[in-house]
Amino acid sequence: MIAPIKPDLVTVNVDGREIAVPKGTNMIEAARLAGVDVPHFCYHPKLTVSGNCRMCLVETGVPAVDPATKAPVIDPGTGRQKINWSPRPAIACATNASPGLHIRTTTPLVKDCREGVMEFLLVNHPLDCPICDQAGECKLQEQATGYGRGTSRYIEEKNVKPKRTQLGSRVTLDDERCILCSRCIRFCREIAHDDVLGFVDRGSHSTLTCYPGRSLENNYSLNTVDICPVGALTSTDFRFKMRVWFLKQTDSIDTESSAGVNTVVWSREGVIHRITPRRNDEVNDTWMADSGRIAYKAVRSEGRLTAARVAGRDGSTGEALAAAAELFREGGVAVVGSGRSSVEEQFLTRRLAESLKARAWLVSRVGQSDKLLVSADRNPNVRGALVTGLVGELPQKTLGELSAAIDSGAVRTVVSVGEDLLCAGISLVQLGRVKVVYLGTHRDATSEAARIVLPALTVFEKAGSFVNQQFRIQKFAAAVPGPAGVQDDLETLSALIRAAGGPDLPSAVGPLWAVMAPQVPALGAVQHGTIPATGLLLDSSPWAGLPFVEGESLHHKPAR
């Protein structure tokens, strides 16, 4: 591997502490590296600097040099180079690190600046925290507590501005809460490339609004809610659903496409309330598409399979597995794996196919790429199937060979791991001709036609890992427990392997990895526990020649 080129480092001094930071780092980030918090509202690490909230004011100073000789001026008192402190504070977000730059964040001047800025921001803020969804994760609340003066001197009337404005179908705006930081405007302009938001009117009447006749409808609109430091922009879906302090956060991966967007699933007592992006500078920065945020609704939707079925009747999992073993003994089995299964499940699917001496198939799902975070491949884990050796080539949209084998009578039983065979080019007539063993989360045409149905878990109810379009393996954890009576997919798969006369493989992620990693060359010495939170790039060279469907998107350039 080629070592990354070391960026130019410059040494700056934050509150008396020297720290080397890459050239061009702004002083908020430099202070963050030095462990000093510089409060800010409008600055966002992934957007341009606008410098309008003034919260990040700090004192700056540069080492003194003699104007004529350019020789350092030494302070006789300390014996060190004198620092020329600027008489006025500067905003840290727009001050880039330069050699020897000094900043002070704890002086009385900086404290006064912050108190003043907070006081002006709160002048027209409605303080309706009890009904505000942002309460608990509100920068204004946090910084009023941390840096405000504590009491209000304001006795005049507060401004009245539009409330409950629908900016788009997913975003609600409360203009009174807005502190005019312009993060949402910059996001729409720079990231979503849908420049619909802007400020109108002047002074304290400034109002965030949509361009007349337009609305905030792009598929990234909910990111404006995430980056809004106050409760001005709120999610219409999450509005008044639950206070954030009750919610448990679980790291997960978005399954809508092979982009592998890192997410946080917010749940309370086994009920998921929302999904937000998790920062990963190598994959999704701090963004995610709106379409991925409603994925949790499948967990409690109609038609969820919660019990095993044998020949159209509810039965126990044990009965279903016994019936499957019976079918497997008759032979003529084909296995349809899934690009939506985790790496662990795909490995077990491969072992199941091996035990049955059957061929494994994969179904592709291809959509339109938005060149940002929804890639063309709508299967999150096709590369996992390649890595684990489940399949050797890219999946097809329809399983032509399989349907031919069904017609010829060579295949009499099909094991489908979560794939609706009707969507994969198998006709209802053909479905009637074979006996289907189906592992699925929801009722569909295949589950209706299947001889044996084994209920499965959604991605929010199990742990595992996915390999995204960059060949980055990323792990996800179980956010909520599955429905009563539904066992883990790994358990079901390893039971199916035993039913097929195969070996007894572990059904928990950790022990399974100990078995899987030595059999999967690309994983090498990786263990599930050692995959970092930001994922791990795997060696993709064995599959370099494959014509993957993804085009260029954020942080991904196809090899071709």
């Binding site: 409605p126 925290c129 009890p130 009904i131 309460a135 009337e157 507060k158 401004n159 009245v160 501005k161 539009p162 409330k163 409950r164 009117d201 009447h205 109002t207 509005r239 008044f240 659903k241 639950m242 206070r243 302090w245 009750f246």
Partner: protein, 180 residues
């Protein structure tokens, strides 16, 4: 171990006949028979509840009959025995109170869990929950002991309001009639 033998003091005549003690006892009995009663004929008679008493928690309305709770769920958060359970909801459009935006869809207090600590009253930013005078609760089943929103408002009634915060908010909105 040395043993010391104590001789019992012989009883006096008065002690032997026992009458003075009986008379003294009867005097006390007679005094209480005609003095003011110290006990109450509960449950027909009820004690006077001192101000600041922490009885059964209730939800109150303001003098205009507006439901004060905005379902901020702070009481649910602070409640040590987790007796409170709120399902937040929005105020329906056109109800005349839509400027408040938020109101509880359901509000349950499990009185089998409640420890009458009063933290919910203390934390409420809208002064909507009060521990009032009701001190006894009984029921035949567990579900009967869970006060739902209707029972909480019935028990709470109306309390005086010093702020009329939301009425002021609407007055300001109307006075400035949405700018532009």
């Amino acid at each position: 171990m040395a043993v010391k033998i104590l001789r019992q003091k012989p009883l006096s005549l008065a002690e032997k006949v026992y009458l003075p003690q009986v008379v003294a006892g009867m005097r006390i009995t007679l005094k209480h028979m005609f003095a003011r009663a110290q006990t109450l004929q509960y449950p027909e008679q009820r004690p006077e509840i001192p101000p600041g008493y922490r009885g059964v928690p209730t939800l109150v309305k303001d003098p205009n009959g507006r439901e004060k709770c905005v379902s901020c769920q702070l009481c649910e958060f602070v409640c040590p025995p987790k007796a409170i359970r709120i399902t937040p909801g929005s105020v329906p459009e056109g109800s005349g109170r839509d400027h408040v935006e938020k109101a509880p869809k359901a509000f349950d207090i499990d009185m089998l869990r409640c420890i009458y600590c009063g933290l919910c009253q203390e934390v409420c930013p809208e002064e909507a929950i009060f521990l009032q005078n009701q001190f006894s609760m009984s029921g035949y089943s567990r579900s009967e002991m869970v006060n739902d929103k209707g029972r909480l408002y019935e028990a709470g009634g109306t309390l005086p309001d010093r702020h009329f915060k939301w009425d002021k908010k609407r007055a300001a909105e109307e006075a400035h009639s949405p700018h532009a």
